[in-house]
């Protein structure tokens, strides 16, 4: 199925990019502005399609689990570095606090990383001012690790707390909503966490902020 989506999008993105690069001649400012809109919407559509393809691969059991041994500390540092451009644009205070006793993990690194990136970018997106804190912990009694992302953002009402994990959902799903995005990020995270035998929990208060916690076994049992 993926081929059917990607081939036409490849042409849309490619030709638009070539027009913007002036391959077929100079553009008027008006033409450029309109083409930039085509371009940004096509990229948005691509992001949605990639998310949908991710979900359908997980649902079909075709998303492979790649288990390796790694340090959570390095992973969090990597995530912070990758998200840095978004962090600096946001002007939020983003801190990280890592427990010293977290042992190396043996699970799917890429999936943990994807979840943490999603938590962090969501937190920044829904926090107009204040701070975002990333914390890691080791729950020795259950041999699980926790990655906690806490923000001082708009928060999520009790009624919306379950719904935001559904496909294509944001708390505000109206067509004029303030925040863009396909609303697939958490739906994917929930499934990825499930593949790692983990869970995602949410604690939030409207107007005060949200705290997302990923809890996964230190060592994944499957595969």
């Amino acid at each position: 199925m993926s081929h059917e989506f990607r081939t036409p999008l490849n042409a849309i993105l490619g030709y638009t990019s070539m027009l913007l690069k002036g391959v077929t001649g100079d553009l008027t400012p008006h033409q450029r502005r309109n083409l930039e809109r085509v371009d940004s919407n096509a990229h948005h559509l691509l992001a949605i399609i990639n998310d949908i393809l991710d979900i359908s691969r997980i649902e079909a059991g075709k998303m492979p689990l790649t288990v390796s041994r790694f340090d959570l500390k390095d992973l969090v540092a990597e995530v912070l570095a990758e998200v840095e451009p978004i962090i600096s644009r946001s002007r939020l205070a983003v801190t990280s606090e890592q427990a010293a006793d977290v042992p190396p993990l043996k699970t799917d690194r890429q999936k943990v990383k994807q979840i943490v990136i999603n938590f962090l970018t969501n937190a920044i997106k829904f926090t107009p001012q204040g701070s975002v804190a990333v914390r890691t912990e080791y729950v020795a009694t259950r041999d699980e690790i926790a990655v906690v992302v806490a923000d001082t953002g708009i928060g999520i009402s009790p009624a919306d707390r379950d719904r935001i994990f559904e496909d294509f959902r944001q708390a505000d799903n109206s067509p004029t909503r303030e925040y863009t995005g396909a609303g697939l990020g958490l739906a994917i995270c929930r499934r990825l966490a499930g593949m790692l035998d983990g869970t995602i929990t949410l604690d939030s208060e409207v107007g005060r902020g949200s705290t997302f916690t990923l809890l996964v076994p230190r060592e994944v049992k499957r595969a």
Binding site: S2, H3, R6, N10, A11, G14, Y15, M18, T24, L53
Partner: protein, 150 residues
């Protein structure tokens, strides 16, 4: 052939001459994508040949001896994997770099492409400038192709 505009992308120290520019063979059954990459590579100073399927790819590769081949994997008839295997088994094209291009992001596709002898693997969507980067980096180490086709 199609109407194309003159190539402005080469710098003054490296004037474009048809015989000198690097020749890239683009194999894709979907004309819109094939011509998109052709246009952009010609704009960037390359010479380009096109093929629509695996058989045509082999014919043109043996006849024109391109410096590099961009191969879509899902082709009608003789597919990109098999075409690449045959190219890599023939003395005339054994050392010609092949960049595989596919709309399938599955891990098996990439491994299959490498097993067939492809030198690089790119998943669509692939913007023309991304393909250009990949082509440049593939040609970089080659003694017979120093920094041409900028």
């Amino acid at each position: 052939m199609k109407q194309r505009r003159a190539q402005p992308a080469l710098d003054a120290n490296d004037p474009p001459t048809a015989s000198k520019a690097v020749l890239v063979l683009i194999v894709d059954d979907f004309a819109d994508n094939r011509e998109m990459y052709s246009q952009f590579l010609e704009f960037s100073g390359f010479r380009v040949a096109e093929a629509q399927n695996g058989h045509e790819a082999l014919e043109k590769a043996f006849a024109l001896r391109p410096d590099l081949i961009v191969m879509d994997l899902s082709l009608p008839g003789l597919d990109g994997w098999e075409a690449t295997r045959r190219l890599k088994a023939d003395d005339r094209t054994r050392t010609t770099p092949v960049i595989a291009l596919t709309g399938h992001a599955l891990a098996g596709h990439s491994k299959g492409a490498m097993d067939a002898g492809c030198d690089a693997f790119i998943t669509k969507p692939c913007l023309p400038e991304r393909l250009l980067e990949e082509i440049k980096s593939m040609l970089k180490g080659r003694p017979d192709s120093p920094e041409r086709g900028r």
